[in-house]
Structures are given as structure tokens and as C-alpha cells.
Symmetry: C2
Subunit: 354 residues, 2 copies
DNA sequence: TGTTAGCACTCCATTACAATGAGTGCTAAT
DNA sequence: ATTAGCACTCATTGTAATGGAGTGCTAACA
């Protein structure tokens, strides 16, 4: 199964060439392209072997060869090892991003959107970024405030500084004293409690103590329930979906339509995020080639993902989606650098507002 | 310029036929398709006239005719008049939506997204919905709360119940008394004030009165400023962008790429929203045919928009984007009905949380 | 034994060309 | 005013013919 040096060089040459042109590459091209000084005939013999081993494919008799998923895989794995050292020196593009993250506007949403956009512009592939998934689940703070005679405002803060607001309409104005009582009731009973542990027993106890204001307690609990629901939902920002039209192998109606839908719906993308977050490889960078992708609509694409981590263990995913013949070198390098920037820089963040 | 009855009928027949097939339609087809009982030769003469008048176009000598923008325009205008009466009886699809709006989940965002999705599924065109633009600008309520020793939570409520939260980190814990003072300071000075009227004079007065806590005031004011900025941003939800692939005239790479980008970026769509909201026709329904659209990337599309209105004069836009040969009849009818449902049903809304 | 030159063969892509057919414009007859 | 008939146009389709890129195989060579 092991390839000797020469075979590996030839395979590499085939892949490099194919990445550029997108056309099957023949023996003659390789003969000139490499510094091996071998005739096309020799190359042909080697290619024949490589095909038998499953690293390259011949679309039809008498055409050049293209890399198989297995071939790409070898290429990528090899590269992942080599590139390890020269990580430090950041490319121009990444510096740009770094600058942007540093002078971040308050809203993380805007930053992530911008980042997706820039990545897409720089790489010419489609990109996606998932917002860090909030892990904290303990209630930190609950407050009822009177906004006007008929309306109360619920403010709920969960560990990790996720904030939820909710308006409650009341029949008649509650005086300050009642409001204070309710606030104390809520905070003494719920503060520090993991949301999952709020059960019916607790709720009915609260309601009982609230007396005629049980209805308000019920509405507050509804709002708390919403926090859970929203927490399960991963926000995903995408950009550069139009880039798929730059690669003929993805641009036919059938495929393009499927891909565009995937990007628009985002449902499927969140599966990709889940997969990436669970299946860790150590480097934090994962490469899915063709059918390796967990999302079927992307079986003709390659996906490179990086997980980044903010403080408190909140993790998010950055993904780049392009054709199989993606510039893995550039993409992986960019993601690696960006990831390391994010991992360190963002750690000084004091949470995010919602 | 006026067309006689027969010419109008022929034009209508041409358009109807073209809407279905997407192919240029010939004289023979019309001769059989209509109940006019005219030979193809007669139709040919009439078609020749219609072409001279600019209502139809011949893609090349010896092909059938297709409608011009002017032709579509006549057709649509005519239809808008006719369809006025039979508005009341809602179609199945719209009933479905009505049901959904009624049992609305708390978050308007989810409802609008769902609505865009359903519309797209029902019409087979791309859709967009803009969230109602918030008009209210008076500060209703400001509060600082202590979440933990180092963190304060700012809660700002603006007229129309737009809510903004912001976390503030403090060096050392503020006691209850100071907090109460700051809250009173903020509310007595700012409550009921239009955001635009908060000027430097007011701010420095506040800071002065806050003494050593001027820094906190500054952060609160930053948060207020953000409310303004966010208010200017119109949220737009889209769905069914992939539907453009169902229409060959839009599905070629160049056009598809442009359209997809338009949908993804949303920047251009907001121009469309602005145009729709300002230029009122009375019915609340507008039809842009081909080059009439304010968005250049949509010059090969037709766009039908409806403005809906919630209480407090908050207006939003629903748009359907498809090929020139759109089923105007169905689309306009659907939008009209949906609009009237929204206008009435949603009026009972008590605002929305953010 | 590994490498190379040479040759026959395959298959795709391009081009050229004729046939088809839908559709028109025009004219003469009704 | 309407229609039948005819010549003409032009996109589309099908069918060869051609060229070229590339392979596999064999025989010669170092």
C-alpha cells in the first residue's frame, strides 16, 4: 500500500495540475511538469499503477487521469503534516481579519457576518461561520420591571451572558411593593439553578407563593423555556454562495440548485457543524473530501472546517466549501492562522449581548 | 395607441401561452387556442401590428412572438382592475398562512421566516419579507441592574417595545444605593425623550451628576446610540432562491450568480423595500416588470411587492421575485389576500420582543 | 532490470452539412 | 376584411468526418 517517493511525486504533480486546470491530466504533461526527467512512457506505467491502487481515476479510456477521493486524502494528510511549522507568519488576508476582529463592533453577529464575507472574497469559495454555541445553562439573574402601567418587562440572564427579554401585559398596574416581592421570590428560588432542573414542583411552589400573580410567574417561566429552545438553535452565517458558479463541475442546474438550497436553509449546515464539533482530530482542522461530507448535497464538494474556541469553552465552526479540486494548501493555511488568532484574541471578550 | 378588443384578446392569448410554455408563440397556436375563430394568417397580420406597437417582440425572423415589457404591463394593469372584487374568498394557501400567523410564536422573526418559506413553496418563486421598520424613537425605560459583582446589565426600552441589552464590566462592586441613584438619574433625565434629542449637553450634564461613575453613563449612552444604528437596519428574510433554477431564462451561470448574490447580500433587496414603501400606488401592490425594477441585477425578472402595515404605522414589505413570465394572476391574488389578512389580523399584536 | 521510442488504437470534441419543421411575410383569391 | 397558398428564414437535430490528446503495448536500449 505504501507508495515510493517517485509515485508520490507523480501523484502530487497530477493533483497540483488538476487543481489548477480542472482538466484530466495526461502523462506527457507530467513528464514535462516535474523535475523527475522521465519520459511520458514511464509516467504512463506509474500512472497505471497509481490507478490500480485507487489514487487516481480515468474518466474514460484514453483520457488523462484525475485524483480520486483517496488520492486527495493522501495529498491533504501529507500537507497537514508539512505545514505545521510555518504557521506563525500570517498572510496578508488574515492580518486584515485580525485587524477587524480587534476593532470589533459590539455585536458579534456583525463580526461573524463580516468574517464570512471576507473569507469568501479571499478564497473564492463559499463560507459559513457558526456562532459559538452557548454551553452555560445556569440562571444568573431574573428581573421584572415595570415599563408602563400595563406592561412588565422580564429580563433573564443565563450563565455566559445570554440575555432574554419578554414583554408581559398585565390587567392592572402592580405597585412597587408587589413587584419587589415577585423579584425576590424569583431570584431566591431560581438563581444559580441549571435551567433543566426547573421542574413542575418548583414552578407550582412559585405559583402558590405568588398568589393572585401566579399568571405572571407562568409567563416568566415561558420566557425561561424559550431560552432553552433558543440555546439549541445554532446561528449560522454564510457568504459567497455565488462562488460555486466559478467551478463548472458544481455549476450545473441540478447541483447548483441543491447547494444554494443547502446554504439558504442552513438546516443541513448545522449538521455539518455538529459533526465538526464532536469529531475532533486534534489540530482543530478537518477536511471532508467529496463523499466524506456528512451532508449529502455536498458530495461533489470538499469542505474544510476549523473549530474555534472562545472563553468558557464556547465553540464555533468556520467552514469553507468548494469543489473537490480546492486549493487545500491556501485554505488550510488560512483557516489555521485565523483559528489561532481567534482562539487567542477573542479570549479577552467579556461576553456578548443579544 | 388604443387596442381594439380583438388585438387585446390576441395579446392576452400570446401572454397566457408564453407564461405557460416559456417558448415564443406562433400564429397557428393562437388561431386554435382562442375562441376567435380566425385563421393563422389573420392572426399573423394582427401580430404584425402588435409588434409595430411594441407590445410583442420577435426574437428572430421566422420565430414566434414573446411579450415585451410593455405588453406585460398592459396585461398586468388590466388584470389589477378586473380582480378587484373577488378578493374576499381566500385561497387554500392563504388560509394556511392565516392559521400560522394566528398561532404565532413569540418571535416575529420565526413567523416571517416561515411565511417567506411557505410563499416560496406555494408559488415556486423566490420570496422576501422585510420586518416592519420600527418608527418609535422615544426612550421609554432605562435600567441598570447588577448581575454579579463585576457586571452590570443595561436594559433600554424604546417606544414600540424594541429592547436592547448591554453588559458593562465595572472595576468594583457598586452598592444598591449608588445603583438606585444612577437609575433615577437616567430615567428622570431621559425618559420620554426622543433619541435624536439626546445631545452632548444632556450627556455631559448626566456625567457630571454621576460623578465618579461617569464612565458607566458613557457606556449606557453607547448602548443607546446602538439602538439608533440598529433601527436603521432593515431585517430581510428570503426563501426559495433556488426556485430561479426552474426557469431556464434565469438559470444560466451569469444571471443565476448575480441573483443568488443579490439574495445573499440583501443589501440590494433593502433598496427594493425602500422603493416599495415610498412609491405608493394605493392598492399597496406593486408590479415591477423587467427593467422597471430598481435593482439592476433583477432586470430579467419581474417583482411583485405588497406592503403590509402593523399597528403604530410600522410597515413592511413582502416581495415575490420570478421570471418575466410570472403567473401574475396567482401571485397578485395571493399577495393581495395575504396583505389584507396581515393588515387586519396582526393589528392585535402587542409589540415584539428582541 | 528499468527506461524509452514508436505505433496502433480509443474516445471525446469540434466541425461541417443536410434535413426538418415551426413560423413568417406577401400575394392573390374569396 | 379574411383566408389559402407559397416561398423564404432560421433554429434545431442528426449524422458523418476529422483532429487531437491520451493510453497500452511491444520492442529496443543502457
Amino acid at each position: 500500500m505504501d507508495l515510493d517517493e517517485r509515485k508520490r511525486k507523480i501523484l502530487q504533480a497530477i493533483i497540483r495540475n488538476y487543481l489548477e486546470t480542472g482538466e484530466p491530466v495526461g502523462s506527457r504533461t507530467i513528464s514535462k511538469y516535474t523535475d523527475l526527467n522521465l519520459s511520458s512512457a514511464t509516467i504512463r506505467n506509474e500512472m497505471s499503477d497509481l490507478e490500480e491502487l485507487g489514487y487516481i481515476i480515468q474518466p474514460h479510456t484514453s483520457s488523462g487521469r484525475i485524483p480520486s477521493d483517496k488520492g486527495y486524502r493522501l495529498y491533504v494528510d501529507q500537507m497537514m503534516l508539512e505545514k505545521e511549522e510555518q504557521l506563525s507568519q500570517a498572510t496578508q488576508e488574515v492580518r486584515e481579519m485580525q485587524r477587524m476582529v480587534l476593532e470589533r463592533e459590539d455585536k458579534m453577529e456583525a463580526v461573524l457576518k463580516q468574517m464570512a464575507k471576507m473569507l469568501a472574497a479571499n478564497t473564492n469559495y463559499a463560507t459559513m461561520i457558526s456562532a459559538p454555541q452557548v454551553r452555560g445553562n445556569k440562571l444568573k439573574f431574573i428581573q421584572l420591571s415595570r415599563v408602563d402601567a400595563r406592561q412588565l418587562l422580564t429580563t433573564i440572564v443565563v450563565e455566559g451572558n445570554v440575555i432574554k427579554n419578554n414583554m408581559i401585559s398585565v390587567e392592572q398596574m402592580l405597585d412597587d411593593e408587589v413587584l419587589l416581592k415577585l423579584n425576590i421570590l424569583l431570584n431566591t428560588n431560581l438563581n444559580g439553578l441549571p435551567i433543566e432542573e426547573i421542574n413542575l414542583a418548583i414552578i407550582s411552589k412559585l405559583k402558590q407563593q405568588a398568589g393572585i400573580h401566579a399568571g405572571i410567574i407562568a409567563e416568566v417561566m415561558d420566557a425561561v423555556a424559550e431560552v432553552i429552545k433558543e440555546g439549541e438553535h445554532v446561528e449560522i452565517y454564510t457568504s459567497g454562495a455565488n462562488n460555486i458558479f466559478k467551478y463548472p463541475e458544481l455549476a450545473d442546474n441540478q447541483r447548483a440548485s441543491e447547494l444554494i438550497t443547502t446554504f439558504e436553509e442552513k438546516q443541513l449546515l448545522s449538521e455539518l457543524v455538529q459533526d465538526t464539533l464532536t469529531d475532533e482530530t486534534g489540530t482543530g482542522i478537518q477536511v471532508y473530501i467529496g463523499n466524506e461530507t456528512p451532508v449529502k448535497t455536498m458530495k461533489d464538494c470538499s469542505v474544510v472546517t476549523a473549530t474555534y474556541e472562545l472563553e468558557e469553552g464556547m465553540k464555533g465552526t468556520i467552514g469553507i466549501i468548494g469543489p473537490r479540486r480546492m486549493d487545500y494548501d491556501k485554505v488550510i493555511h488560512t483557516l489555521k492562522t485565523l483559528k489561532s488568532q481567534l482562539d487567542t484574541i477573542y479570549k479577552k471578550d467579556d461576553g456578548h449581548s443579544g
